[in-house]
């Protein structure tokens, strides 16, 4: 084992490499997961609690062995055990502590291991904690869940063994791609995986509800918090991916409609539809088939996402490997999809709605419109993503679909969703008179009109941007007025101050107001997107002492400082930023050469303000210290990250709320809007 010391402490875990124990424990995990499927299945079929309990204990054991295997791979990384091919490919002696962790998911095998780890551990927790739910439901859920674990553990055991050995261990590894050596990469992939994996819990319970021939919504109530957790993780993961692209990749943007980005976005869209439509099932016992279909679709799209990433079927910067893992995914996906549809189809009669839509102008139909829009959005993204494959099949011609398609097709749907976000809360359950709605719409529409007029006269000349800002103003006002209305009731009734009344309003009905906070976060994010309309970009070659202009700024290149660390050769440019006579800031973009991986990489420098980001990147360095400087002015990008924080805060409020009890909404809407009622 290569343990000779090279300058730094090699192994904070205080252990040598335990890689030798990794594969046996993965195989043990697979065996326990398989046993869990059989035991839970028998327990469910024969109504024997002892068997299904044993099955759940087997799922816990599978989680334990998967955790142990992950720990073994970590020890191999920290001990620099380069006899393990995976460790040699994705780490090196100079890699520092935290990034040795992220090297764990730097490649395919480790990513799958992380996936399996999250899957088995979350599943074990969900199954053991759901013991208060009906026995047959939990037993079936255990069988479904463990079968998912089996699939991923099988991948790790056969085509994607993370513990495969090299014949001769190299003295140093190839290092981790420097792009992945960033704080964002420490949390972006695990959060995405947590999101993907999290949806397999409501999926397993939904399928379990079908298998146990139940038509109630117990599966939804038992998994509500998991659904919210998965959705929050996926949302945060996607935003962090955008933030990572923005700060690391140096092209001045955060979202490129890359197939793998789309792969994470599609399940997010269907999951968002699911999150909304389960409210209708809960309140009105409608849309049962629809909800089961949505969670099936979300799960399939999440796995399809991994397939896209791992199969190399589409070219993407995220495509890690063209290994043979891909060929296992398609049959699995087909199996899940066909079995899921067949199961739902056989239970159609029992799952019919207990209520009907009373009126087209009702909260129910607003929710349904939301679902239609989210599914349309998901289909648009799916179509753009797979169109190259479909087209090549049909015509033999190879083509690629670029961001312009997605922007053209997606933005109208996205804006309609934003409008509905503002409209929805104003419409009452069951039915509403159009006149009442119009009265509620007056203020938000007036605010939107003022904003559009102000921006239009202020020089915003893009129709799309005006529409987006106008809709954001409309929705923010409509949602904001819900808070005002609720607070006013508490203020009057309990004599509270405005802030106290607001806090009371939110605390009393965390699910509703938490949801509104999430919506406000989305509005902020859309404001950030809309700012992209005024984006400016320029590139210029600069000798030391020369300067270039972008927007109101003058960027003068003061010179290049070169130095060398054990990991990289650093070329640090000094860019003095002035506006008029005023010195704004000094930026230090870098262009570095990473020694272990022999990769050149630019480090972006950004000056962020709520109004706009000044973003500079050195794209080439000459021998005589001349540089090519690329600069962007990105208006309002700051709001995207702020909006994301607001969203996460809102999700926290939402999740802290009580789990739903079975209630249906009785009365039509109270116009006075008694905030304390739910």
């Amino acid at each position: 084992m290569p343990l000779e010391v090279q300058g730094q402490s090699l192994n904070p875990l205080g252990l040598g490499s335990l890689a030798g124990l990794g594969r046996p424990s993965l195989l043990a995990a697979l065996a326990f997961a398989a046993a869990s499927v059989v035991l839970c299945f028998l327990g469910a079929r024969r109504a024997r609690r002892d068997l299904s309990d044993a099955g759940i204990r087997a799922a816990v054991a599978a989680a334990g062995f998967t955790s142990w295997a992950t720990f073994c791979l970590l020890t191999a990384f920290f001990a620099h055990d380069f006899s393990v091919a995976y460790v040699a490919s994705y780490s090196s002696r100079s890699l520092t502590g935290a990034y040795t962790f992220s090297a764990l998911w730097g490649g395919m095998e480790g990513s799958l291991l992380l996936w399996a780890l999250l899957l088995t551990v979350l599943g074990a927790i969900a199954l053991t904690r759901a013991s208060s739910a009906s026995t047959d439901l939990v037993a079936w859920a255990g069988a479904v869940f463990s079968s998912i674990s089996c699939f991923f553990l099988f991948l790790l055991a056969v085509p994607a063994d993370p513990f495969a050995r090299l014949v001769a261990a190299p003295t140093d590894g190839q290092g981790l791609n420097p792009l992945l050596q960033s704080p964002g990469m420490l949390i972006h992939p695990p959060l995405l995986y947590l999101g993907f994996v999290g949806f397999s819990i409501p999926f397993a319970f939904g399928i379990a509800a079908l298998l146990s021939k139940r038509s109630d919504d117990e599966w939804l109530r038992a998994t509500r918090r998991w659904t919210l957790l998965a959705w929050s993780s996926l949302s945060t993961g996607i935003v962090l991916g955008g933030a990572w692209a923005y700060t690391e990749l140096g092209w001045g943007g955060y979202w490129a409609w890359d197939p793998v980005e789309n792969a994470s976005f599609m399940p997010w869209l269907t999951a968002t539809a699911f999150l909304h439509s389960i409210v209708i099932q809960e309140k009105r016992r409608m849309l049962k088939v629809w909800n089961l279909s949505l969670i099936l679709l979300t799960y399939v799209l999440a796995v399809f996402g991994t397939f896209l990433t791992r199969s190399g079927i589409l070219s993407s910067i995220h495509t890690f490997s063209e290994g043979d893992v891909g060929k296992y995914f398609l049959p699995y996906l087909a199996l899940v999809l066909i079995a899921g549809i067949a199961l739902i189809a056989t239970r159609l009669d029992a799952l019919s709605s207990e209520n009907r839509l009373d009126s087209l102008l009702s909260r129910e139909s607003a929710f349904m419109a939301n679902n239609v829009l989210f599914l349309a959005a998901a289909f648009t993204v799916l179509w753009g993503t797979v169109y190259p494959i479909v087209n090549e099949w049909l015509t033999g011609l190879r083509l690629s679909v670029g961001p312009p398609f997605f922007n053209r097709a997606f933005v109208p749907i996205g804006l309609a969703i934003i409008a509905l976000t503002g409209l929805g809360p104003l419409i009452s359950w069951r039915r509403m008179r159009a006149a009442s709605l119009l009265r509620l719409l007056r203020v938000p529409l007036a605010v939107a009109a003022v904003v559009v007029a102000g921006l239009g006269f202020g020089g915003v000349d893009s129709f799309g941007a005006l529409l987006a800002f106008g809709l954001c103003a409309f929705t923010a006002t409509a949602v904001g007025s819900e808070f005002v209305r609720g607070s006013r009731v508490h203020r009057r009734r309990e004599g509270l101050s405005w802030p106290a009344a607001l806090a009371r309003t939110v605390a009393r009905n965390r699910r509703r107001y938490g949801g509104y906070v999430v919506h406000l976060g989305v509005v902020l994010i859309v404001i950030g997107f809309a700012g992209g309309w005024a984006k400016v970009e320029r590139s210029r070659e600069l000798d030391a002492g020369e300067s270039m202009r972008i927007g109101d700024y003058a960027l003068s290149y003061e010179g290049l400082r070169s130095s060398e660390t054990p990991e990289k050769q650093v070329n640090d440019a000094t860019i003095k930023v002035t506006r008029g006579e005023e010195l704004v800031t000094v930026l230090h973009p870098q262009r570095n050469f990473h020694l272990a991986s022999r990769q050149t990489q630019s480090e972006v420098a950004i000056r962020t303000t709520p109004l706009e980001d000044l973003y500079v990147v050195v794209t080439a360095v000459d021998a005589d210290s001349a540089i090519v400087l690329r600069a962007f002015v990105n208006p309002l990008t700051w709001w995207i990250w702020v909006g994301a924080f607001v969203m996460v805060g809102g999700m926290g409020v939402l999740m802290s709320g009580p789990s739903p009890v079975s209630v249906t909404v009785p009365a039509p809407r109270r116009l006075s809007h008694a905030a304390a009622s739910s």
Binding site: A85, T380, F405, T600, R630
Partner: protein, 144 residues
């Protein structure tokens, strides 16, 4: 009679649902077809030889991939020029966009093994590229 009422009611519901669904699907299909047909939404892949053999091509967006010809890379100001080959014929690529970091990395270690995809329009015997993507050689598929 009281049997027929719910039946016809459910039939008219179904009809409404069908019409509503049809309208939605038609609207979405229109949106997608429109967006796909707009310029810049899609770009066709061609090999270097296909492109050179085809003579003048309409100014639509193209994607051409090939290996960089060693020694062909030069830069003047922000404009970079290089040639790619598919083994039999060469094509000059001109771009104002910065080359991706992966390009520099690969070019530095083995200039003949840099595989790129250039996207842009073909005119005057060269491809004016709005985007150059480099395939990262072997790094991500390391399986020694």
């Amino acid at each position: 009679m009281d049997q027929a009422l719910p039946y016809s009611a459910s039939r008219s519901r179904r009809l409404k649902l069908l019409i509503g669904g049809g309208v939605i699907v038609a609207a979405l299909a229109t949106l997608i077809v429109w967006a796909l047909s707009r310029p810049g939404s899609t770009s066709f892949y061609m090999t270097v030889s296909e492109l050179r053999a085809s003579g003048p091509v309409a100014s639509s967006e193209l994607r051409v991939n090939g290996n960089v010809v060693p020694g062909s890379l030069s830069r003047s100001g922000i404009e970079t020029t290089f040639a790619i080959t598919d083994g039999s014929r060469n094509l000059a690529i001109v771009t104002d966009e910065p080359l991706p970091d992966a390009f520099s990395t690969a070019y530095r270690s083995d200039p003949s093994a840099v595989e790129v995809v250039a996207q842009g329009s073909y005119a005057g015997g060269h491809l004016q590229a709005s985007q150059v993507l480099a395939k990262c050689p072997s790094k991500f598929k390391a399986r020694a």
